[in-house]
Amino acid sequence: MSRSDWQVDIGLELHVQLLTNSKIFSGASTQFGASPNSQACAVDLGLPGVLPVVNEAVYEKAVTFGLGIGAIINKRSVFDRKNYFYPDSPKGYQITQLNYPIVEGGKIEISLKKGKTKIVNVTRAHLEEDAGKSIHDQFHGQTGIDLNRAGTPLLEIVSEPEMKSSEEAVAYAKYMHQLVTYLGVSDGEMSQGSLRCDANVSVRRLDDETLGIRTETKNLNSFRFLERAIEFEIDRQITALESGESIQQETRLYDSIRDETRPMRSKETATDYRYFPEPDLLPVEIDDEYIDIIRKQMPELTEHKSERFMVEYDLNNADAKLLASDTALADYFEEVTGISGDSKLSANWIRVELMARLNRDSISIKGSPIPATETGYLISLIKNQSISGKIAKTVFEALWQGESSAQKYIEDNNLTQVSDSKELEPLIDSILANNPKQVEQYRAGKTKLMGFFVGQIMKETKGKANPQQVNELLNQKLNL
């Protein structure tokens, strides 16, 4: 097998759970992790006589996403019924959008290795309801059905088949994950199923102008599985085609334990969904005024924010990009800067001191034990020279370990920098008096000894002396 003879075409369908308190067609809670069927109301259970009513928060999320990728927001979109029998699909049909999705078009720019970037076009994004869960392994010979997830709002984002490698596909998925999280469209908790990915993969010879026959590998819930499944499919398809076999258009599942994909049992793959417009719901009408309101409410997009950070806070490109990459982190930075009055010093501290600790202990910025107010206060003390950078690090570590107030900790441990010459002068005098030899040598021209005197004073003050002040006083006294 030689991959170099082949080109790969990948399209992704991302199923993003929307960050709403209640379900798409009922008032039941969408909270993850509740005991089975405790969050399924009559509508979610598909009891006779119940009717769906759209939770309007889903429009806001879909429009926000659409604006975030520069897509067209359709003024009129239509819900349809997708018919199939499965025990975790309570009504026997899923309410989705087939011909008239709420979002169409749009594109994103993904970052690849060696600083390369690529534009990937989005075909459409539509609203639909999630299914419940079938639990096969807990009841001997029986399947349990948990309908808590049934009716959780989903946005299905469909890309054009423009990605050429698993690297591109993963970069695309990561970008979308970051974007929907950033925009507050989803909580992005992949371990809880908030973002699931179906990968459409096909291969063709380099000179072939039409796409090959594709397979769809469903329900990939981590970037690693996405990558592995695509890699497996590429190899499998090339091997098959090179040995003269053909590819079946089929739905496959990825088995992470065996690291392979295999066809779904035919029973699980319905062939004809018999779509038709959902008669229980009116078409969704959205006007320009509504879109404008959403546009104004939207959080600043990452690209815009990192540019603003460079202009407004005079940050370098790398710091600006890093701090703007996550809403919570960006908010933290802006709060710290507001308090400290020094954007560059704040950026530096967050990047070097805070993020290193967060990464080390796998804590998100939202879970930071040190609030932005304390970090900001600490940096303001450095800036006005109340404490040295070195002392600040000690205080910061104490805060990380659970101290709640920087001010109190500094007071309790008497760590305020000594800048008062009335306090420093007697100390300097006694040091000079105790080291007459060095004083003599210095005065004879060995000015390197300045460091020795500063060191002695720092030792004596346990680092609290303001070094600049010490330098000035020493200069005065030694250069008499």
Binding site: L51, N83, I145, P279
Partner: protein, 496 residues
Amino acid sequence: MSLHEKSIAEIVAALDSKKFSCRELVSHHLDRITEANGYLNAYITVDREKALTQADAMDKARASGNAPILAGIPIAHKDIFCTKDIKTSAGSRMLDNFIAPYDATIVSKLKAAGTISLGKTNMDEFAMGSSNENSYYGPVTNPWRKDYIPGGSSGGSAAAVAARLCVAATGTDTGGSIRQPAAMCGITGIKPTYGRISRWGMIAYASSLDQAGPLTRSAEDAAILLEVMSGFDPKDSTSLNRQVPLFTQSLNNSLKGLKIGFCKEHFGKGLSSDIENAIDIAIKQFESAGASIQEIELPSSKFAIPAYYVIAPAEASANLSRYDGVRFGHRCENPVDLADMYRRSRSEGFGKEVKQRIMVGSFALSAGYYDAYYRKAQQIRRLIKNDFLAAFESVDLIIGPTTPSTAFKIGEKSDDQIEMYLQDIYTITSNLAGLPAASIPIGFSKGLPIGLQIIGNYYDEASILNLAHQYQQETNWHKMSPTAFSLEGIQPSIKP
């Protein structure tokens, strides 16, 4: 006059002046049910205790002076409306064990207005049928003649009202299921504009066509109930967000200047001559009251039945998918696997007509057939609507026969599906267009009632009820009661 012959207004007045109590009224009707239901089979479930408890509560409320407007009026609900704590079967074995944890919106509204539900009435399974022969609980007998069908699918409601086993009843109308049994049982029934009454808690047959309405003995009673039942419901996205007119306020408007249309195609071939004659007499009545009659055209109506039998089964095929034996309803014994459970639960739980419509609907929606059937049917629907909109440019109401014939014998048309489907030929168009339409009794043919259909423009139930009421002021057809059921007191055994 006996208790069970009084109109709603007369009952309210009698209760107000303490001529009898709610308990007396309710237990009188319950006794009639006990006596007659074995013969009529109009009720599937009767909840005697609950009805009497409610009657006592309403007597108390009346005594304390804060009774709701319809306090104590005994009614019945078609067994398609979900009722908390009482079985709701939709006439199907599938739901023989189903008790909803909620009341349908109209059940709540009628309860809040003080009405007392005596029980749940028989119906064609999932409202699919025109004769009430498709019920898991057996056919309903027409109170006017033994061995005759009462019409369907709201056959139990129509029979119960006609036999005076309740003052009024609720029904649903997807292709004529209120109007056709009302016509065949000699009572008044109205299906309002689509969306006028909430569908929440009403078991769906064909969602875009289903509409609830009252079956009553008079237009006045219908107006009173329609006012209570109507109104926007946030739980039904398709319910109309419009002010509900006070239908009772316009009942006595003059008919002078009213323009009534009729469609020539509705007369002649296929229509019983007795019905045609009865309509001619009714038309003269309208003219003498000052209305004018003119011919209108509804050219697309001839496609209504085929369009209906694509759209309704298509929607039904999806609406009935939830009956899979997984969460509620009938589940087969000892399924070997999932497919077996689905297949046997549904095969056992559904009757023949329901299965047939699911098959037809699934076929019409399948890949490759959708455009030829479902899409085409929706186009016809639009044409039918346009015909009506054009007609209502020149007339206020359209009248015609409700049914091609009077009630027929049980079993007579069971083997002739086309003949059975043609029962709805005059009623289906107003469902496809979403227009309000009523049927009122206008005479008899060989002892069986004849119905007149009155179709109104969108949101104009008031004009329909006004015409019907004015007609009923001048005629007594609506007061005719099947002899076997009009005798004073309870007969030891009722044999017509």
